[in-house]
């Protein structure tokens, strides 16, 4: 394998976006041509509360370096309360990952409304930078899934 020392580490980031706010916010970022890195790959879910912790672990297992979960702002959930459950679930999940010594900032929850295209792009830029700084995910990967 040839390693290009100068090549910047390009993390793989999975973004779960709720259909009503954040996915629409991502669309708005696109409509407004607000760039963010192609490291971000979006998976559409109906609501942030659809995201099972096992999806997040699965992404890390398969080689993701960061996972970000975006939903409607608290109080604005299309389903009225889904994001509140998300918030508690993710708080505990992040805490457990931290407890197990997994680097912080590989995971994030952000609330992005359908009107916040700019925030979506800014969040994705910022998160990608943060994950880049952490380097590749090694503590929560499945060696068998490592890309050669």
């Amino acid at each position: 394998m040839q390693v290009n020392e100068n090549k910047e580490f390009q993390p793989l980031i999975v973004a779960f976006c709720c259909n009503w706010c954040s996915y629409a916010g991502a669309d708005l970022a696109g409509t407004n041509r607000l760039n963010y890195p192609d490291n971000i790959k979006i998976i559409r879910v109906p609501c942030s509360c659809r995201v099972n912790p096992m999806f997040i672990l699965r992404a890390f297992q398969r080689g993701a370096d960061g996972v970000i979960l975006c939903g409607c702002h608290p109080g604005d959930c299309h389903y009225t309360s889904g994001n509140y459950f998300t918030r508690r679930r993710m708080t505990l999940l992040f805490s457990m990952l931290d407890f197990l010594g997994i680097e912080r900032n590989r995971t994030r929850v952000e609330w992005v409304s359908a009107a916040e295209g700019a925030k979506f792009a800014a969040t994705m830029n910022e998160f990608t930078e943060a994950v880049k700084k952490l380097g590749p995910n090694r503590r929560l990967e499945d060696l068998r899934c490592r890309k050669q």
Binding site: P53, M54, L57, R58, F60, Q61, P74, G75, S81, Y84, F85, R87, R88, R89, M90, T91, L92, L93, F94, S95, M96, L97, D98, F99, L100, G101, I102, E103, R104, N105, T107, R108, V109, E110, R139, L140, E141, D142, L143, R144
Partner: protein, 323 residues
């Protein structure tokens, strides 16, 4: 105590209040005490055991037992009543089919700790003024009582029965335990140290599923790890990720439901301190969402099934404590 329990069991059977009794039996060794169902006075007389090694929580067995015909008598230690209550809350036990006699709890003994002192061939134990006299095939040995106590009993959270039909002996109170000390100690380590600690522990896991089988919160009809459709079916860990995954998901599934009975660590043949994962969640829940003790009652909502509008954001995890 064993005597009083046997008498109570026989009485309730003869009065027809119950038609079965769940208690404990001795296995091959003196310290090998496992739950067992007795259907008549003779069996009880013959093999019912309740002693310092009787630590097993029988509440989980009632998920199945309570669905059978007739009422069953269950002897529940204080910690077991929390598990029992939690299962009632989750509609897993039919309360009417169980007659609960509350019995005083531990501290119970850990045979591994006695063996660790080089004492083997254990035939029986006696607690005399907190000195443990151990009768072995090689003669009598002694050790300080508290050095042989199970970890889960050493940090006992409550001597109070939260549910019962009658009590044998006095009821106690909830205790100020130091149960979060070790969690805190880990929290204060660096991420790398924590990572190393858990790697050294979880890499021992052989996925014997003892923790899952004993856990009163793990009562799923079919565990996601056994279900080929769940997407995470995994029978044996073949990689560090899978070792982590199983325990993270298991802890997550019981978060807000785990009563901290400590059975998982007690039964782990690899001595992995699994209860620390559950306690971490309990500590977080207490910190973030207010004090919560699963199984304390049967009405309160589990912390993950409710919310407050001003709950903290998940990202604060990345900013608090030691990284």
């Amino acid at each position: 105590m064993q005597e009083a329990m046997i008498n109570k069991a026989k009485q309730l059977l003869s009065e027809g209040v119950v038609n079965r009794v769940i208690g404990w039996k001795r296995g091959e060794f003196a310290y090998d005490i496992t739950p067992a169902v007795f259907e008549n006075a003779e069996e009880i007389e013959k093999s019912f055991v309740y002693d310092d090694f009787t630590a097993a929580n029988v509440s989980k067995y009632l998920v199945k037992e309570s669905k059978k015909d007739g009422k069953i008598l269950a002897f529940l230690k204080p910690c077991d009543t929390y598990s029992f209550n939690q299962l009632i809350k989750e509609h897993r036990i039919i309360r009417e089919n169980v007659y609960i006699v509350g019995i005083p709890g531990g501290p119970k003994l850990d045979a591994e700790k006695i063996k660790a002192k080089g004492i083997t061939g254990i035939l029986g134990v006696k607690n005399e003024n907190y000195t443990l006299k151990i009768d072995t095939i090689y003669g009598e040995e002694t050790m300080p009582f508290y050095e042989a106590v199970l970890d889960k009993c050493a940090s006992c959270k409550s001597k109070k029965h939260v549910i019962y039909d009658e009590l044998i002996g006095e009821d106690g109170d909830t205790l100020d335990s130091n149960r979060f000390d070790m969690v805190e100690k880990l929290e204060n380590m660096t991420a790398q140290e924590r990572y190393d600690f858990w790697r050294s522990q979880l890499s021992k896991c052989i996925r014997c599923n003892a923790c899952r089988n004993v856990c009163p919160a793990c009562t799923c009809e079919k565990c996601v790890f056994d279900n080929p459709d769940s997407g995470i079916e995994n029978k044996a860990p073949s990689d560090s990720f899978e070792e982590n995954m199983f325990h993270i998901i298991r802890a997550f599934h019981v978060a807000g439901r785990c009563t901290d009975c400590g059975e998982c660590s007690r039964v782990c043949p690899q001595n992995i301190p699994l209860h620390l994962l559950n306690r971490k969640f309990i500590k977080d829940i207490n910190t973030f969402y207010g004090e919560f003790q699963a199984g304390e009652d049967i009405t309160s909502l589990a912390p993950l099934n409710e919310f407050k509008q001003n709950d903290c954001e998940a990202n604060i995890i990345h900013e608090r404590g030691v990284e």
